[in-house]
């Protein structure tokens, strides 16, 4: 019988062999032909742990660190070790209830799994930290503290210049797709944190870790041979003088406005005060979100950097530039005289522009006493100069000068969200009035810095640097140099000396004389500092908010010392009322004294600082707005406000709004066109009472107001752009 079945031993062997062959073939396809499994394995078995380097430190001109890093702890939890933890005392410390505690734990388990540590409470406050440290033994091993590096501002100053960092949102990720950001990363959102993000962030390191099925990191892959080290962010050296900045912020307390001080020799920004400001350390800790929405909803707009993002009509400070143009164009000479019998009548029947002092003035004196008629005549001569074939070309020439002086365009400062301001061009007037329907008399008010002309405080300060240097400037900038070299060539553009038009020194000397006169014996006497020759110019700017005339803005700009100027500075106090010399001039004086003498020691000067810083010039509309918001907060739930805060964050980070707004403005201006076409005979388009102070009301001022209604509308758009951020009511 066995013999009979002898052949079957081969069959059995064949079965064995064929099955093993099938298995080997299958292994061949699985392991060698397909690469899918390798990717899958890498996906789940490996973890790229990103190591965040410390951000770069920012120093001021005296090498004081004004923005650096500090460690704050996160409370971490590993949910599967929670058994036997004193939950109640932990809840007491963290000021939450046990239901919240449970909810958070469940959320973390869903997000990260049971056995992987997750953040239970990020960025513990100092008080919580102190309480936790005492009783941490009760909560181990489920809870532990982990340090995290956050930004800190040792001087609590320069918030708007330095900016803040925040978690990136989807919008940000979309805009920077190839820069290695992932959700949860922090990036600079405003200020130089944003403009120097590339160098401040440093280079991230990557550690490859093995990961297990519960998403825990077990050990380094191959003992870390594939890892790349992180490189700390580059330190930045700025031209800011932090003490000057602090003084500026102190002086601007309880006011709206801005101060910009520039070193005219280098273009380095010495101080950049936007008032009101905020404590920059507010936006670093655990309360960040709450405080951010508070700041954002504040109608005084503390998050707006007024030095670059707000624009104002320059008022009389503009006259210095008109003088330069007039002299250079040869339409006047330094001893050319115009007389003012009370107003400018160069436009025939049109409403005359008033002047304060009646008399006949040469250029120097015209600047010193800020004579409207003089500069209206100067600009009229420039615009109607027979040298130029048409009104268009004359205005274009004038535009060319203004652009050269850095107005009507972005200067290219390294602080983000810079606005262009507005220097009206022929195209602009064509749009507003229609081609051929405008002439000098249409816009004569811009000759004294009112009307359509708009400048940012930075542009004014830069203009002062230009005048101080007698014809050149460097693009203003905050950052002078950086550790480890300028790899991305971020600073290159600040090294080019800009000489817009050659204007002889003698012309500048004349303007300087006039400006010195302003401080020595004119409207800017408040800026006087002992032993320092200051050249300055005051400005008092009419403005409107939602069509309602507001208190005047007070302007002062200048430079010092006259020979070998070291500081060019401007200050604007919004809606302060009175003259430019009343508030802005003394603030500038103190700033100049502080910078040039290094400290202010005399008792009367110190008293002046205290007096000015206590002075409250907040316009009443801010208080009204605040009250409105309070009632809103009661009626609407906080989620609504938070959502709004979120929207603002997006707008803050995108920066699209600037161009958008400019366009809107134009569109609205267009809409006003039909209204204005009718009285084209310039009768109602003037800004007659521009310079008239409130204290001297004239009998016809009421009539004027009625007549200037279309103008006030136009102004409304302008002021809207200043205050656009609180229009979301």
């Amino acid at each position: 019988m066995p013999v009979y079945n002898e052949s079957r031993k081969y069959t059995i062997r064949l079965i064995f062999i064929s099955l093993i062959v099938i298995i080997i073939l299958r292994l061949f396809t699985l392991q060698i032909l397909s690469s899918k499994y390798k990717d899958l394995a890498e996906d789940q078995g490996m973890f790229r742990k990103v190591i965040y380097p410390d951000r770069g430190i920012v120093f001021d001109r005296k090498k004081n660190a004004i923005l650096q890093n500090t460690n704050i702890s996160d409370l971490m939890v590993t949910p599967n070790k929670l058994k036997g933890i004193d939950t109640i005392s932990l809840c007491n410390i963290l000021e939450i209830d046990t239901a919240q505690f449970r909810k958070r734990i469940i959320e973390l388990i869903i997000k990260n799994g049971r056995s992987r540590p997750s953040i239970f409470e990020p960025l513990l406050s100092k008080e919580k930290m102190a309480k936790l440290n005492e009783s941490m033994f009760k909560f181990t091993p489920a809870f532990y503290l982990q340090d995290r590096s956050v930004r800190t501002f040792p001087y609590n100053a320069a918030a708007n210049v330095l900016g803040y960092t925040a978690e990136v949102d989807t919008n940000f990720l979309k805009k920077h797709p190839d820069e290695g950001y992932v959700a949860g990363d922090y990036a600079g959102m405003t200020g130089i944190e944003r403009s120097y993000e590339k160098v401040l962030m440093g280079q991230r390191g990557i550690e490859y870790w093995k990961r297990d099925n519960k998403n825990r990191l077990t050990e380094r892959l191959e003992k870390g041979i594939y890892d790349t080290l992180s490189i700390a962010g580059q330190n930045l050296y700025t031209s800011l003088d932090i003490e000057l900045q602090e003084l500026g912020e102190k002086l601007m307390q309880n006011k709206l406005g801005a101060i910009v001080a520039i070193d005219p020799k280098t273009g380095g920004i010495l101080a950049m005060v936007s008032a009101p400001t905020y404590n920059p350390n507010y936006l670093t800790g655990s309360e960040r979100r709450k405080r951010f929405s508070e700041l954002f909803l504040n109608p005084a707009l503390p998050l707006l950097n007024r030095t670059v993002s707000a624009s104002y009509s320059p008022g009389s400070t503009f006259k210095t530039l008109q003088a330069l143009i007039g002299l250079h164009e040869g339409v006047i000479e330094t001893n050319t005289r115009f007389s003012c019998s009370g107003a400018f009548y160069g436009c025939g029947g049109a409403k005359p522009m008033r002047c304060l002092d009646v008399g006949t003035f040469d250029l120097r004196n015209a600047i010193t006493i800020s004579d409207n008629t003089y500069f209206a005549n100067v600009m009229q001569r420039v615009i109607n100069n027979p040298k130029y074939p048409s009104l268009d070309s004359a205005l274009s020439k004038w535009n060319g000068y203004m652009h050269g002086f850095g107005l009507g365009r972005k200067l290219g400062v390294d602080v983000p969200s810079e606005k262009t301001g507005n220097i009206p061009t022929p195209a602009y007037y064509d749009k507003v009035y229609g081609k051929g329907h405008w002439n000098f008399c249409t816009f004569r008010s811009i000759s004294i810095g009112q009307g359509e002309v708009d400048v940012t405080p930075l542009q004014v300060a830069n203009e002062m640097a230009y005048i101080a240097n007698k014809g050149w400037y460097y693009t203003p900038h905050v950052v002078d140099s950086m550790d480890g070299g300028d790899k991305y060539n971020l600073l290159g553009r600040f090294k080019n000396k800009i000489v817009p038009t050659y204007i002889p020194d003698s012309i500048f000397e004349a303007v300087h004389d006039g400006m010195q006169g302003v401080v020595d014996r004119g409207t800017g006497a408040g800026a006087k500092v002992k032993d320092i020759v200051i050249c300055g110019k005051t400005g008092t700017v009419e403005n409107y908010f939602r069509g309602v005339k507001q208190q005047n803005h007070s302007f002062f700009c200048g430079f010092a010392p006259r020979d070998n100027p070291k500081i060019a500075i401007m200050c604007v106090v919004e809606n302060s009322g009175r003259f430019g010399g009343t508030y802005a001039a003394p603030i500038v004086g103190l700033m100049i004294e502080k910078y040039l003498k290094d400290s202010i020691t005399e008792k009367p000067r110190l008293d002046r600082i205290e007096q000015l810083s206590k002075l409250n010039l907040m316009p009443p509309r801010i208080a009204i707005e605040l009250r409105k918001q309070d009632s809103l907060r009661h009626s609407k739930d906080s989620a609504y406000l938070l959502a709004k805060g979120f929207l603002k964050t997006i707008r803050d980070t995108t920066g699209i709004d600037e161009d958008q707004i400019d366009k809107d403005e134009l569109d609205k201006a267009k809409k006003d066109k039909p209204e204005k076409k009718q009285p084209l005979t310039d009768s109602s388009l003037s800004k007659s009472d521009a310079i008239l102070p409130k204290e001297k009301p004239k009998p016809d001022s009421k009539k004027n107001k009625g007549k200037t209604k279309p103008d006030s509308k136009k102004n409304k758009h302008k002021s809207k752009s200043d205050t656009k951020k609180n229009k979301h009511k």
């Binding site: 019988m1 066995p2 009979y4 079945n5 079957r8 031993k9 069959t11 059995i12 062997r13 079965i15 064995f16 062999i17 099955l19 093993i20 099938i22 298995i23 080997i24 299958r26 292994l27 061949f28 699985l30 392991q31 060698i32 397909s34 899918k36 499994y37 390798k38 899958l40 394995a41 890498e42 789940q44 078995g45 490996m46 093995k210 990961r211 297990d212 099925n213 519960k214 077990t218 050990e219 892959l221 191959e222």
Partner: protein, 451 residues
């Protein structure tokens, strides 16, 4: 003729012993790589008896002691005791219903203190011996249906208890005794039918039915072409080819879809497909309509998360090994515990990931060498008892290897059976040791006629 030989060194089949040792050692290395982390202390953990590899290490030592004992025993004891042992084995299986301990959902374990004994596992030895004993009886005529029925009864009785214990996988092992029975004259039809049905079923699960139908048709034409001379002489072969093609086609094209669509509940069908790591292709339009897309997506997710998980992870681990593997202790999947039951049923994945295609092929060739060596040993026996026993051992090892490895690479459903000599576990390791060393002992006494 019979000489009493007390030394164990002479006339043993050293090739088998070496193959046994090498495979068992590879198994130990694989278990080690599953559990060992580079910051553990190697020697300390090896002797601590708290890690699986240290336990396996001690089981292996125990196995060598048991092997030595078996080699020192008298061969006659194996021919004298099978019936009693068989009864004891059956009783042990029954006793699990009383004494049993539930491990992984099956009540098939008897706790012995230092280890757990699984009677279904050890019973394989007794059944092999009993089958050998029955077939080697002079009065057994295996060509008679009655003897065939009795032999089948001996083999399949444990299946019933095993099924009752919820150990489907181990129950299937007993069907492997068809192989030694086939060698002894059991009609081949059953074997062929069994194998081809099994293969066809697995293929229908693995491949889309259209591909399979094309493949079957090609196969029919090929066999027609190669057998054309024979067909000229005997027309009935053509009929056989045609009928088997038709039956297979109906099975694949109609029967299987019908069963999956209408006989099985959806969850049952899903479960069967998930055993091979595929999504159920027979989700009909009407059943799909009943459930909203969200629920479907959710179902799909839940399924991939739980049921397919084993096979998918196992395929990922093996597939990511590549040609040479990631290197010893460098497998991210193995070290990350991604494959469930990796030290027992899925031990092959650790080899696949760490040593790649080369390592896997070497292991498969080692198993093949062991199997062929056992067949070689079987064929050199003079006594039927030894030969039947040897074939039983080969069949058991073959079945375990084939099913276990096919299941890790997605060719067979996931049924919990171990990889011989490799998988962690005293019960399995000792069973295979005893099976193999009884064979070695019998082989060393092949000059004797054993009944």
């Amino acid at each position: 003729m019979y000489q009493k030989n007390q030394t164990i060194s002479t006339d043993k089949d050293w090739i088998t012993i070496w193959l046994f040792t090498i495979i068992a050692f590879i198994g130990l290395v694989c278990i080690f790589s599953v559990e060992f982390r580079t910051n553990d202390d190697f020697l300390k953990s090896l002797f601590a008896f708290n890690k699986n590899y240290s336990k396996q290490f001690f089981y292996l030592i125990l196995c060598f002691i048991i092997a030595t004992f078996i080699l020192l025993m008298d061969s006659k004891i194996f021919t004298a005791t099978p019936n009693i042992l068989y009864v004891v084995g059956i009783l042990l299986m029954i006793s699990t219903f009383v004494l049993g301990k539930t491990v992984n959902g099956s009540r098939s374990w008897i706790p012995l203190g230092f280890m757990n004994l699984q009677p279904v596992e050890t019973c394989k030895i007794f059944v092999s011996l009993a089958l050998a004993k029955y077939l080697s009886r002079p009065e057994t005529d295996f060509s008679k249906t009655k003897s065939q029925l009795i032999a089948s009864g001996i083999c399949f009785l444990p299946v019933i208890f095993s099924l009752l214990q919820n150990e489907t996988g181990l129950a299937l092992v007993y069907f492997t005794f068809l192989l030694p029975m086939y060698r002894e004259g059991f009609p081949p039809v059953y074997l062929i039918l069994g194998i081809s049905l099994g293969v066809l079923l697995i293929l229908t699960l693995l491949l889309p039915s259209l591909h399979l139908l094309i493949g079957l048709t090609v196969l029919a034409f090929l066999s027609f072409y190669f057998l054309r001379l024979k067909i000229k002489r005997n027309r009935s072969i053509l009929m056989v080819i045609f009928i088997s093609w038709a039956v297979s086609a109906v099975f694949v094209g109609l029967a299987v879809p019908f069963i999956f669509k209408h006989v099985f509940q959806k969850y049952q069908a899903d479960r069967i497909f998930s055993m091979v790591g595929r999504d159920n292709p027979y989700v009909t339009a009407d059943t799909a309509e009943l459930t909203s897309p969200e629920i479907q997506a959710e179902n799909k997710k839940a399924k991939t998360d739980t049921e397919n998980y084993n096979v998918k992870q196992s395929k990922i681990a093996i597939g990511s090994g590549g040609l040479f593997g990631k290197g010893f202790l460098k497998g991210t999947q193995t070290q990350g515990d991604f494959v469930p039951e990796q030290h027992t049923d899925f031990i092959f994945t650790s080899l696949g990931e760490n040593f790649g295609f080369v390592g896997c092929t070497i292991l498969m060739l080692l198993y093949l060498a062991l199997l062929l060596r056992i067949v070689f040993i079987a064929e050199r026996q003079r006594s039927t008892f030894s030969r039947v026993y040897a074939y039983s051992v080969a069949a058991i090892i073959f079945f375990h290897v084939a099913i276990n490895i096919c299941m890790t690479i997605g060719l067979a459903p996931v049924i919990g059976i171990t990889l011989p000599l490799m998988s962690y576990g005293g019960s399995s390791l000792i069973t295979f040791t005893v099976l193999i060393f009884i064979l070695v002992k019998l082989d060393s006494d092949r000059q004797m006629v054993l009944r």
